[in-house]
Symmetry: C2
Subunit: 418 residues, 2 copies
């Protein structure tokens, strides 16, 4: 039995028929190399937006089940077109819709979760030498209706299918050729990482690295799916791309597959952050709930929360960050709740950035945070807030210092390419 | 139990969100009048062509099953959008894809025939007061894959669903407000017919009246479905449209529902006809097969066939008509088969038109054909070929005389509006 491979292509990789033909050549290369291949595709770029716009024009608030029927059609189209392009170059292939496999989801139409994938029919066809071209982003709800996984859900489809058919690897083709130590537009010396652990990738995805959807990384971590980020813009005929064991890209894998663990793997940053501080909040039980429940009810995602211990035991200052897009709404909610919360005044700053240092090696290395603070201070960068986890340090600073901070930390931890 | 109604809307009736909203208002009117309603929709106009063009660009010859997966997405989108628009104006509604009902078809992907429709789930939901919005043109093949019915198949879907749920009527909304005695662009005095028999409509549809697909009329005839042709461009709020028994339009029904039978019901014409004559063909068994088998194998549809009895029992002339688009190919096929057929020479004319007189009353009235020939001769119109059936006379003439011939026959049989 040959090993199975999942290949996933996003919207820009299937934007038109020429690009879909290019994808077919990538697939043929892997088939020729001996893999049994399942391909997961997104809608042609722009199509999902067009379909979503129609549902909104039909009614601003609309039935999520009907939204799913409309929007899932985009992936259906790509799956059929890619199957045709594969057949045209002599590759045995067929399209599969979510309901045909079936990919069973829960009932949360528009943002459904995959519950179960019956891989048996796929495995049978793959074994007969037929490539499976699977419409991503969609499944079948318990009501026998199409359910979509939410935006970017094709990554999640690909990882879930890889788990269901026991794929040796799940290749995510994107418009970048891997995961970098940081954004190469800011640090030209950024290096492509050969391997990243699931835990690190999860932090990077949550912190603004747009290579993979957070949900797909979680799923890959739970099921131990080896995910591989690589470029769909490479020439499919490039012989290096056919390397079965070591093609160009970044492997996201379990920590124990990473032999030489770096202390720090990468520097991420997340722009468009805002900060709100409540001054002289009563230091008593229930006050945090009084602040954050109204914000949650208004669908405002609060991120870093810092509360200092009060000097005198009566009042304290409370600071948190949030996306700048939610800033005005949050200020207005807090104004409305002023009497209930009880605070002296509210202050806010926009135009902030969160810079994060990520690495599983931090677990066994003390002093990583201290050296970061020292290096930033030496450059005159003021730190507004800090949060840390086992494998991550996040620092809130003024956005004007973004590039300086990222470059400083990138050099500090020895990530610059020679 | 309320009576059930099927309403079918074609591509121009659902061309954009505003038009779809208009359709929703037509549906609401019928729901308010007390009907249980199932709606069948086509793809938004232009969408099917776009999808077909993509499959062709992917590969000129392509897998019909993949074509079906791609092209059926157009109706899927419309069904979801109309369900949303209905809900928005307070009508309980949901979309149904062919595979959800299911509408079972044979395996002839791209031109499938409906084998069976399980109406039980639809009937149950209709009984609960929910409008069913059904994607037309599609069903589920025996291979569990989407199968489309061929172009214009949404009419067929509507009639088949009407039969499956026992609908009292199947309303086909189009861009005209009914079936006319002839083309009003040629004869301004053409009248809208209140009723037409299935047999007559079948002849009209076959002869170029583009109101209904031939296949849908056949199906309506077999199952006795009362089909009603009406306009989607009327104002949905017009109170005359809500008349349960007698709304404006044309009812296509069984002959016994037509009390006062006209001798002639309508005059149809079909442009872009060509004629081919083979001179001095050997008059022996098997010669007709030698002529028409190669044409059939080349997918050329031959229509009127006229063969004269030979004077001397050795050779004869053979004449037939065909669409002008197939003329060159037919001439080339006949050239190739010249030795096998054995004929002296081949002659052809393009630029012809077939004018047909249709009416179930002809069965019991002699002399209809004779009066037609007389009237055309009086206007100096030369008749090139004639074929007749029980309820139809078709006459082939030069296309320059189209309008004159149609107007002459329309007056002759008393069809001009007062």
């Amino acid at each position: 039995m040959m090993a199975r491979l999942v290949m996933k292509f996003g919207g820009t990789s299937v934007a038109d028929i020429d690009r879909i033909r290019n994808v077919a050549r990538h697939v043929k290369r892997e088939v020729d190399a001996g893999w049994e291949v399942a391909v997961v595709v997104s809608a042609m770029s722009g199509k999902t937006n067009e379909l979503v716009a129609w549902t909104r024009a039909a009614a601003p608030m609309h039935d999520a089940r009907e939204y799913d029927a409309v929007v899932a059609s985009g992936e259906q189209v790509t799956s059929g077109l890619l199957a045709i392009c594969l057949q045209e170059i002599g590759v045995n292939a067929r399209s599969w819709q979510g309901w045909q496999i079936p990919i069973k989801t829960d009932n949360a139409h528009g943002a459904a979760r995959i519950l179960d994938i019956d891989g048996s029919k796929l495995i049978e066809r793959l074994g007969e030498g037929q490539v499976a071209v699977i419409a991503g982003f969609q499944g079948l709800g318990p009501d026998n209706r199409i359910a979509t996984l939410g935006r970017g859900g094709s990554d999640t489809s690909a990882v879930a299918i890889a788990a269901a058919i026991g794929a040796a690897r799940c290749d995510i083709y994107t418009d970048v050729d891997g995961v970098y130590t940081t954004d190469p537009r800011i640090v030209p010396k950024a290096k492509r990482l050969d391997r990243v652990s699931h835990e690190e990738m999860l932090e990077m995805a949550s912190l603004g690295a747009k290579v993979l959807q957070v949900r797909s990384v979680e799923l890959a971590m739970v099921h131990g799916v080896r995910t591989f980020v690589r470029s769909s813009f490479d020439d499919p005929a490039d012989p290096r791309l056919g390397d079965v064991d070591n093609p160009p890209g970044t492997l996201i894998c379990d920590e124990d597959e990473i032999v030489e663990k770096q202390v720090v793997t990468g520097i991420a940053y997340s722009k468009d952050e805002a900060q709100i501080s409540l001054r002289e909040v009563a230091d008593k039980p229930g006050v945090a709930a009084a602040v954050f429940v109204p914000l949650a009810e208004a669908n405002i995602n609060v991120d870093m929360i810092v509360q200092n211990v009060s000097e005198d035991g009566t009042t304290t200052d409370m600071t948190f960050t949030l996306p700048v897009a939610d800033f005005e709404r949050a200020m207005s909610e807090l104004e409305k709740a002023k009497d209930k919360i009880g605070y002296a005044k509210v202050q806010g700053s926009r135009d902030l950035v969160k810079v994060s240092v990520i690495g599983i090696g931090m677990r066994s290395h003390a002093g990583v945070a201290a050296s970061a603070f020292q290096a930033l201070a030496a450059k005159g960068i003021n730190i507004r807030a800090i949060t840390t986890s086992e494998i991550k340090i996040s620092i809130l600073i003024d956005s004007a210092y973004t590039e300086l901070a990222v470059r400083t930390l990138h050099s500090l931890y020895g990530l610059d390419a020679a």
